[in-house]
Symmetry: C2
Subunit: 398 residues, 2 copies
């Protein structure tokens, strides 16, 4: 069975490596060997073992009837979308690690694949090497999924773990993460939560079967978290982590990406460093969690190759995936009830006057007070915070 | 699509409940409703909503061409094996929660299913509601799985958690577990590790693609663990848990079921009470873990219904599962290298004379000494322990 890789960056070269290193087990599980025929890239990679497979025009792959499976590891919506669409329409199966493409065009590409009796799979787009897409779409199908909450961005989890362990400020930890290759030169997509937002949009789409637009999900990153916040968290016996969460409300879901203060009892409390984990609550299953390497070359490529094996076992059949184009109107996030940790320069009397009963958190600082509110609607919190005026920081509890 | 349930006990009635409660989502995911037509049981269940579906002869189901999917939740090898075989041979798909059946007859039933172009699935047989079988067989297929280590028995994990939390003795905790319905009247299969042994045999068979006989796996339970052991564990900052583990050695695996002393860094350290979790290490994935409700009516039934949906989506196709009848000769467990915690009435001098350098653990007891050995082969430990003579307890470290 001939295969092609589009995009020979970190993940793409990882896929080529696994096809080589694990050649025998992959062949056994597929029923026949997977032979890499083309690698599409703008560059030439002279001296690389795949140099003779490099092509620069995606149409070479589209027009080769021998190629049955195409891997898309280019990233970004375009030209990935154009290329993937062409491959599916030419009757080739596609697997991708590209969350931007899947979040934006998932429903459409699934439909195109279905119409052409091929598969469009994307296990690697969320949680790196952690099996989460297929468990949701082919295991937990007897359940109504009532909650998905994940640590789905390794960069930010590494940074928050390091800030917690070493008491460092955000900027110093970011520099360290960049030096280690965990954060990109332009870290915006990670640290502002955009990456996590696309991932929770994908997961929510899959459990409700409809299109969830990531633009509709309120998203905060971690760039405003300081060493002072970590000190408060330590005092409270909690840990700050960037969560992407989605909860069932009536016939819809309410979703959010934000840093949260987790209690030690929370299943995600012990997920440290670059690891990812996704917590799931089903109405029959109860609690479940999927944990592992959420990023990195080989773990992510492992998920891509797992998709290739699944495709090889379904070469003549479209695996039905329920993700229709019809948009799901998410529930109003301002109606969500949360408890809020707040740092304020106001007095205890002012705080209690506006928020009623609160738990004060000893800060050791002269010029501010930390407190935790009772559970209240987001909209009520916003009103009270505006009335208080002097809010330096707000982080939700979970 | 008509379905039947064989065995209307805890799990079987849970399956019927989910088919009713989650009827709409299940129908949507299957493409059509699943209609329960028969329930096979020796009893009559008068007054139960399924009373009119009760049949006493499995041949009624075998001979009804309308029935496409059969659920086996009877437990035990016979008559489950005879019934399941007949169903598969009659062209009906089967899903089971029965680990005894799968461990004993899995390879054969998979082959029969393949020959009759139907599916024999058993997600519920390991880890209850936790997706683990399908992630191993359809997600982590790009990997060579180098280790699977699980807490796969909720009863014993509950008991060890309770002994740890409350300092109680084994017999008292067993009575409590029986009173709560977590342990059976005859708890042997759980507390002596037989249940965990069958489960690790199943998981090992699936990752190596060959038959692993559970009789070949050295198995110790937890009935010899005492409150004194727990005190030592606390001193060491470790937790005692019953693990079922399988590690790749050359072209084979070495497997064991036994209580282990886990360090806080171990991914399974935080798995408490009746929860189960399975840690997996792949040569490309690195570390992964699957956590959730490992037993109980609805979580286990959730996995069965997930299988039913998978079957409905593959009603015309056998999903290839690699588990051949040819037996895998497991690697010699006596060659395995471990560190051993030992309680002994011997003197420090005698201990050091035989074991060389050890770490002594402060016991607070007058009549014995606790110590941890260096890493050594099981066979070497056995020789030294025999020479020492006075061994009251041995628990491996991990």
């Amino acid at each position: 069975m001939k295969v092609a890789i589009m995009g020979y960056g970190t993940i793409g070269s990882g896929v080529a490596e696994i096809l080589e290193v694990n050649r025998d087990v992959v062949a056994k599980r597929c029923g026949e060997p997977l032979e890499l025929k083309y690698v599409l890239d703008l560059r030439d990679f002279e001296g690389d073992p795949i140099a003779d497979k490099i092509v620069h025009d995606y149409k070479t792959i589209v027009e080769d009837p021998e190629v049955a499976i195409v891997v898309e590891t280019m990233g970004g919506v375009e030209p990935a979308y154009t290329f993937v669409k062409a491959m599916l329409e030419a009757g080739k199966h596609v697997t991708t690690s590209n969350k931007a493409l899947v979040a934006d065009k998932g429903a459409e590409l699934i439909e195109i694949a279905r119409n052409h009796k091929v598969n469009f799979l994307f296990e690697a787009s969320v949680g790196g090497g952690i099996p989460i897409i297929r468990p949701l779409t082919s295991c937990l199908t007897g359940d109504v999924i009532e909650e998905i909450t994940g640590i789905v961005n390794g960069t930010t989890n590494y940074m928050m773990s390091k800030m917690t362990k070493e008491g460092l400020e955000f900027d110093d930890v970011l520099k360290d993460a960049q030096a280690k290759g965990y954060a990109e030169k332009d870290p915006t997509a990670d640290i502002e939560g955009h990456d996590a937002c696309r991932k929770i949009a994908i997961l929510t789409s899959l459990v409700c079967g409809r299109q969830v637009d990531y633009e509709d999900i309120p998203t905060e990153g971690i760039s405003h978290i300081t060493a002072t916040d970590i000190k408060y968290a330590n005092k409270m016996g909690r840990a700050i982590k960037l969560l992407a969460t989605s909860k069932k409300v009536g016939d819809s879901y309410v979703a959010r990406v934000a840093p949260f203060l987790l209690s030690p009892e929370h299943p995600l409390y012990n997920v440290h460093d670059v690891f990812n984990a996704i917590f799931v609550h089903g109405n029959m299953l109860g609690d479940g969690m999927f944990y592992g390497s959420g990023a990195g070359k080989l773990p992510t490529a492992s998920a891509v190759v797992g998709d290739m094996v699944a495709i090889a076992k379904h070469i003549d059949k479209n695996i039905y995936l329920e993700w229709e184009k019809e948009k799901l109107v998410l529930a109003d996030p301002n109606e969500q009830v949360n408890r809020f940790f707040v740092r304020s320069a106001a007095s205890e009397a002012e705080i209690e006057n506006i928020f009623g009963q609160v738990e004060f958190v000893e800060s050791g600082l002269d010029d501010e007070i930390g407190f935790v509110t009772e559970a209240m609607k987001e909209s009520d919190y916003a009103t009270k915070a505006a009335a208080l005026g002097e809010v330096r920081q707000m982080i939700r509890l979970v």
